[in-house]
């Protein structure tokens, strides 16, 4: 038993260390800056501010995008199906929550519960239906079909009056204890917990027999089919699960994003971002999407605020941060062919192989010396 525990710790110490660091971080920042982890209340609108709060916001955003990217990785990285319509499920989650909180007659807490559950169910149905009609399409045809569906819904919502068309709407009320402006720390922990749960769920899933079949489909669908697996069913399962998790990310996103629900959450950006995050971090790795999400978000937020002073000239990098981001893509694509995590794992594998080789050859040398 202790052996097992030790082994688990040995294999996962890096994850645990990151987790502990993330749990402690808000308190540490709050303590160092003197603002406190809960921030200070300003004005009568119950807003809280402070260094720690700012960082909690940023990190929560990273967690949300990590959830989105991980959900995308289920279909893209582990099942090998490229979908361009992932934003649809993200948006469904956000819209469902927003509509429930803003337009229903229920109390805040009930509306919240109905919104979350309803969003999960609706996006599950939507992704199941989308998979049902389109998963028989191959490769790019599937990708573009999903893009078309998502884009059609997006365009429709940019003109749909009841939800504010292009401007979207802002829901005014939500349960106070997780409201990011009033209780940022609670929201931070909730998004962290959800992120960790999704991570664990995906890891558990991929080590299960179902996960093994999903990997088999990725490697060679024809072969998986000829062995006798109903590949369509597994792909359908993958896209449904991914869609539901994406809707969860969508709900968190609208809560954090000043409670605003606009059609842009259905837009192609929220498909492309997780796609890029997954590719940059490492396709088909557990930690890849998380690292990709963190890297992309951090570089975006730092580049946006960066001001370089050379002599008397102040260069505001923030004005052209998107150019730098574009170049960053290009560089990462050229330098990290398997994504950050993939490249790191390969590097570690070659190092271990080298060590092993050296050990073997030295053993051989001593053996022949005798």
């Amino acid at each position: 038993m202790t052996n097992l525990l030790r082994k688990t710790l040995q294999n996962n110490w890096i994850y645990l260390a990151i987790l502990v660091a993330l749990i402690v971080l808000p308190h540490a920042i709050g303590w160092f800056t003197g603002d406190g982890p809960f921030g200070m209340q300003v004005g009568r609108r119950f807003m809280v501010i402070g260094q720690s709060v700012t960082w909690q916001g940023r990190l929560s955003q990273i967690f949300i995008f990590a959830i989105l990217a991980m959900s995308y990785n289920i279909i893209f990285g582990f099942t090998g199906v490229i979908s361009f319509g992932h934003a649809l499920f993200f948006g469904i989650g956000g819209y469902m929550l927003g509509v429930m909180l803003q337009f229903s007659d229920l109390g805040v807490n009930e509306a919240m519960i109905f919104g979350v559950v309803g969003g999960l169910i609706l996006s599950g149905i939507a992704s199941f239906a989308m998979g049902l009609v389109s998963l028989r399409l191959r490769g790019v045809y599937f990708a573009v079909f999903t893009l078309a569906v998502a884009e059609a819904v997006y365009i429709y919502f940019t003109r749909y009056r009841p939800t504010g068309a292009e401007d979207g709407f802002t829901f005014s009320d939500m349960p106070t204890f997780i409201e990011p402006t009033r209780n940022p720390l609670n929201f931070y922990y909730i998004s962290l917990i959800l992120c960790v749960l999704v991570f664990l769920f995906i890891r558990r899933l991929m080590y299960s027999p179902t996960g093994a079949i999903m990997l088999a489909i990725r490697e060679n669908e024809e072969r998986a089919k000829s062995i006798g697996y109903d590949t369509l069913r597994y792909k359908l399962f993958a896209i449904t699960v991914a869609g539901m998790i994406a809707s969860l990310a969508g709900m968190l996103h609208v809560m954090l994003n000043s409670k605003r629900v606009g059609p842009e959450i259905l837009g192609v950006n929220f498909t492309v971002e997780p796609l890029l995050m997954t590719i940059i971090g490492g396709v088909g790795t557990f930690l890849g999407p998380v690292i990709g999400a963190a890297g992309l978000r951090v570089s975006e937020s730092t580049l946006r605020e960066l001001v370089i002073t050379i002599g008397d000239n102040r260069i505001n990098v923030g004005d052209s941060w998107e150019i730098i981001l574009g170049f960053l893509f290009i560089i990462v694509v050229m330098v990290f062919p398997q994504g950050v995590v993939g490249t790191w794992m390969r590097w570690r594998a070659t190092r271990q192989a080298k060590r092993l080789n050296a050990a073997i050859s030295s053993q051989k040398a001593t053996a022949s010396g005798d």
């Binding site: 009609v133 389109s134 028989r136 399409l137 191959r138 490769g139 790019v140 045809y141 573009v144 079909f145 893009l147 078309a148 569906v149 884009e151 059609a152 365009i155 429709y156 940019t158 003109r159 749909y160 192609v268 492309v272 796609l275 890029l276 590719i279 940059i280 396709v283 004005d319 052209s320 998107e322 150019i323 981001l325 574009g326 170049f327 960053l328 893509f329 290009i330 694509v333 050229m334 062919p337």
Partner: protein, 334 residues
């Protein structure tokens, strides 16, 4: 072989049927010959613009399996270059004749597009041919960079075409409705381009190599042909045609930052609709989508007052056709 032609016949019948249905629907609902003519003309016009973006996308995808996300950016840059050549004060002094400047703007847009496409292929895409997925990310990054460069040069304000020239000015009347000559002009340019690319693909040696490369690039390379050079040529050509499309569109649509992505999505839809790797499929699908957008736009504004349906139309057409034909109109089962 016989079944192939049989399938083609069915497809052609489907296309003819849809086109006819669109025309009849439009004729009945507009109820006015002039309005009907305008609707059809604007449909053909949009179809041609779509084709200019989609043709490069189609051939590049067929040959190299790259979905080039930067194609929309080439279109946008073509529009800005065309606008700039036509409106730059320095040039107006040197060449006062707006018609010559218009021709120059088209040539300039095409040239710039060609140069940028060449650089993109040679410098960035070539090292990545073994990793097709990453090419997609790369072209996306390039599109982002190009958009930002355009933004920093021309700003976020869209440009409206103010200076006019004879084709844009002059008009004719059909069934009592005045028409600008520019739309038929674009349609003629588009058709000429469709025919010349078709001739290039079907009647020249390089065209044979390209078509063979679409079938099996490795095999062509095994025959001792430098496929990489053909890749470069095709990519350059595709970018140039997209930029030309931008230059042609600019007098009518102006130049804006959004136009690239708007056309890119529709162009991807068109390429898939026509069937991947099929040039004629792309051409026919462009016209089909252009027509249906125009017809739906007319109907939606006239009767149900919801113009949003026009923007959704390309996607809806794609969804319906893919459900009937999983490989697009002229695509092969892969």
């Amino acid at each position: 072989m016989n079944t192939m032609t049989e399938e083609r016949k069915v497809t052609l019948v489907i296309v003819a049927g849809i086109t006819l249905a669109l025309l009849v629907f439009s004729f009945v609902t507009t109820g006015d010959a002039g309005d009907f003519a305008i609707t059809i003309m604007s449909g053909l016009f949009q179809g041609m613009l779509l084709f200019l973006v989609a043709s490069g996308l189609s051939i590049v995808f067929g040959l190299m399996d790259i979905l080039n996300f930067a194609q929309g950016a080439f279109f946008m840059i073509g529009a800005y270059i065309g606008y700039e050549i036509h409106h730059a004060t320095g040039l107006i002094d040197i060449i006062p004749d707006p018609n010559i400047r218009f021709v120059l703007s088209l040539i300039g847009a095409t040239m710039i597009g060609a140069i940028m496409g060449w650089i993109l292929e040679r410098v960035l895409l070539r090292p990545l041919y073994v990793r097709p997925l990453f090419q997609l990310v790369l072209t996306f990054g390039v599109a982002l960079v190009m958009l930002e460069i355009v933004k920093s040069i021309w700003g976020v304000r869209p440009r409206n075409w103010t200076d006019t020239f004879s084709i844009l000015e002059s008009s004719f009347t059909v069934f009592g409705q005045p028409f600008t000559l520019y739309r038929p002009f674009v349609v003629v340019v588009g058709i000429a381009l469709i025919i010349s690319i078709a001739l290039l693909l079907n009647r020249t040696r390089i065209g044979i190599i390209i078509r063979a490369g679409v079938e099996d690039a490795e095999m062509v390379e095994a025959l001792g042909i430098n496929v990489r050079a053909v890749f470069t040529l095709v990519f350059t050509l595709g970018s140039a045609v997209a930029a030309l499309g931008g230059g042609v569109a600019a007098p009518f649509l102006g130049a804006s930052l959004e136009m690239g992505n708007a056309f890119l999505l529709a162009a991807i839809a068109v390429v898939v609709l026509g069937g991947l790797g099929s040039y004629e499929g792309t051409a026919i699908a462009s016209i089909l989508v252009g027509l249906s957008v125009a017809v739906v736009a007319k109907f939606a504004t006239q009767y149900i007052n919801q113009p949003v349906w026009a923007s959704i139309t390309p996607m809806l057409v794609l969804i319906i056709i893919l459900l009937i034909r999983p490989s697009g109109l002229f695509g092969k089962e892969r």
